[in-house]
């Protein structure tokens, strides 16, 4: 807190000094200052994230990334329920569904939030991962979140057509019924309302971290696991929690 106050005061001094310079300079400075301030709160190095976004997906997508940043910054002090809804809404608005085959020319590809936001496209697990990481960044504890493999019944209640699907579950308390954040529908519903989904297996990032640190215990061999690869790569893209 003290550090952030000091930082913003430092920013003001800089602002006064450079006020008659061009608008671009001012904007860059603003980005720099906000980045600096936010970095103090959120465990994301936005400068790295934005730079990588710019490199990989071009300046157009940087705007989306900045929107994500704004969303995270603004919802920091909200309640957990509100965070769930805001995050779900953000991805529902900014992503469109696209299968891995079409998007990545692979049967099953797990994308990091950077890739998902960069493409603006994703399939069910890309949604779930992006949402999971966003919520973790916003400070929701790991044992309240589960990535859940579900069997989805598609095409109406009597349809026999099923599909492998992944959703994110939010447990208000460990024993409670979870709220389901799904890519198929934009609403966040309690699991009891989701009769079309049958849970199979759930997981989160518990056990991936050494005790009380954000240092991964995994070694290069463990990165062969898809889930761990995502987490490692996300860290390299400036997001850690």
């Amino acid at each position: 807190m003290v550090a952030s106050v000091r930082a913003s005061r430092f920013g003001c001094v800089l602002l006064r000094k450079f006020s008659n310079r061009s608008l671009l300079h001012f904007l860059l400075l603003l980005i720099f200052v906000t980045t600096f301030v936010c970095a103090d709160r959120l465990p994301i190095q936005f400068n790295i994230f934005l730079e990588k976004m710019n490199q990989q997906f071009g300046p157009v997508r940087v705007a989306v990334a900045r929107n994500w940043q704004t969303m995270l910054v603004q919802s920091q002090n909200k309640t957990e329920q509100q965070k769930i809804l805001i995050v779900n809404d953000f991805f529902a608005r900014n992503l469109r569904y696209r299968t891995d085959i079409q998007l990545w020319q692979q049967n099953d590809y797990w994308a990091t939030p950077l890739e998902t936001l960069g493409k603006g496209l994703g399939d069910c697990e890309d949604y779930a991962i992006a949402k999971y990481i966003s919520l973790r960044v916003l400070g929701i504890e790991d044992d309240k979140l589960r990535l859940i493999y579900v069997k989805a019944q598609i095409g109406g209640p009597n349809s026999k057509q099923a599909q492998a699907h992944m959703v994110l579950g939010y447990f208000v308390t460990p024993n409670a019924q979870p709220l389901i954040l799904d890519s198929l529908i934009t609403k966040v519903l309690p699991s009891a309302k989701r009769t079309d989904l049958t849970p199979v297996f759930s997981f989160n990032s518990q056990g991936l971290w050494a005790n009380n640190s954000n240092q991964s215990v995994a070694n290069p061999t463990a990165r062969l696991s898809r889930w761990r690869r995502i987490i490692e790569q996300t860290q390299q893209e400036g997001i850690s929690w």
Binding site: S191, Q206, G207
Partner: protein, 660 residues
Amino acid sequence: MSFMSLFKRESKITLRQELWLAILVVIIISFVSTVLISTYSAKQYFSSQLYLKNIDDANGLALMLSQMHKDHVELELLISATFDTGHYQRIELQDPEGAPIVKRVFNGKLDKSVPIWFHHFYQLHVMPGVAQVSDGWQQFGTLYVESHSQYTELALWENVTRLFLGFFTVAITACIASAYFLRRILRPLDDVVRQANALGDKRFIKSKVPHTYEFARLVSSMNLLSTRFSRIIKEDKRRLEEFRFKSQHDELTGLANREYFYATLEAQLQQSKEHAHGALFLFRIVNLDQISEQANRVEMVAFLRRFTQTLVAFLEANEDRFSESHIARLSHTDFAVLVADTDDIERLSTKIFKQHQALLADYSQFNLAITHACSYIEREDSRFTLLKRVDNLLKVALTKPQMQAQVNNNKQRNELFSDADSWREAIEHALDTNALDVLLYPVKSFSGKLLQNQLSLSLLLNGELYRSGYYYQWAQRLKLLARLDWGQIKYLVQVFEQRDDLNLISVELSRETLLDDSAVAAILTYLLAFPKLAKHICFDVRESIAVSEFTLFKDFCIQAKSMGAKVALKRVGSAFNKIKEIHELGLEMIKIDSVYGHNISYSQDNQTFLRGICSVAHSIGITVIAEGVESPEDQKTLQALGFDGFVSQPVDDKAKGVQT
């Protein structure tokens, strides 16, 4: 090379030891680091494999548990079955609040084959595999799976043991290989060191040039030094010899001249002052000039040469009747022969008389005559009294017209023992009963510094101590010199520790001792056993022996020097140029025969000769000492010639009690 000797040597470390240290350090470092690194990487590998197994097993089991009916008994059965049939340290299922639902922990004891310290250092810390178990939409619990790390520790331990043994074998092999290569590489070094030591010992030897570049350079340089020295010495000696011969010999006959003979006679008289055994012959050729008058000068020279040959042949034929002989041409017609240790000059006189008669028979056309006179040397004879006596005899002989011989049968009768057997008995008795003492002749530099004490053995004969001069001739005749040498060495070993005055001593070794392998070996053994004595002793060997038994003498020098003893030459002079490799012997000192030093102030030629000897000797680090020079004037001259010192008369109190 044993490791014990590696560290026994104090202070100075040899190159070989340093190389060994370096090799050992390299081997040990590589050995330790290999073991550590490979153990560490094995540990890392095992850890990561175990961790992956934990994760995979946890997820597999959690997936299975999520699917089944959550009956407690069923859960427990499944987890127990997994635990009992697998290799797990812990399988625990906790409910969302963290309370255990089912827990299995391995309580088996540690495998004894892994040492505790190893377990302590190499304990694996593997994170448990964690997976979520759900019951429908609800969380059911969290599953923790930890594999047992004991068997991996065992594997790690076996790995370390194998590695240790393997590398130990490699290290031993490396040591053997390096021992071989070191020996090959450093073999020339031994030669180099030996040569360097030899140079330090004033032995200017040459050695084989090795293949290694650096050693080759070094050895070539040292060889060059040795070669230069030997050339200089050779040239100097040749010049000296030419000069000596010219100054001391008659040009016509090649015999010693009058000056040289007188010096020899003087020295002989001085040596046998106490006890004379010698005799002097004087020969005169009467009417020699008739040959050149009636025939020609060439004929006369031929006669003189024949006469000389007859005389030399006579002395050679009768070698067994005396120990030494000196022959000289004193003047145009006069010849002299000095024999030492003879008993029967009448017989000798008769023999030579007959030979001269035979010689003169060939020259009957001339009115020639050869007259001679002879006399024993008497006690306290000086050169003048002796020469005068013999000259008077010769004059008597000349008064008679024909060839004459005049014999003065003044044989000494006042000896201690009358015959050889009594002498032998007495000397042997003295040696056996250790009735000995040593007399010290201090060898001093001209500045008065004591260089060494020259020892001479006194024997207790008939209840009184007699100096060596008294019994020496008899001992030599009876071939007892080797026993005397040995007796002296044994006596020295006994008293060396007790007597303070026996520092830096010199002891003469006779020809008999040097010729006797076992006697030399016995002396060297004593030196080895008494290194302190070895450090203080210097062996004197006569120049004539060194020349005639050069190989033996050289071996003796090298062996004695290797034990710390020193070697000197005494009675040096006439044969100095014949000592072939004097620069390779490492001599400590040469003692110049009193023949040269005596009356040196009056002999310009001898001065030049001695100056030459001094410069040769000094160039290879040998001290030059004069024997038997007592007059202060002579000593001054010798100092000016470059001598380092002289042998003076014994001064200690003991000498007063000794019978002379």
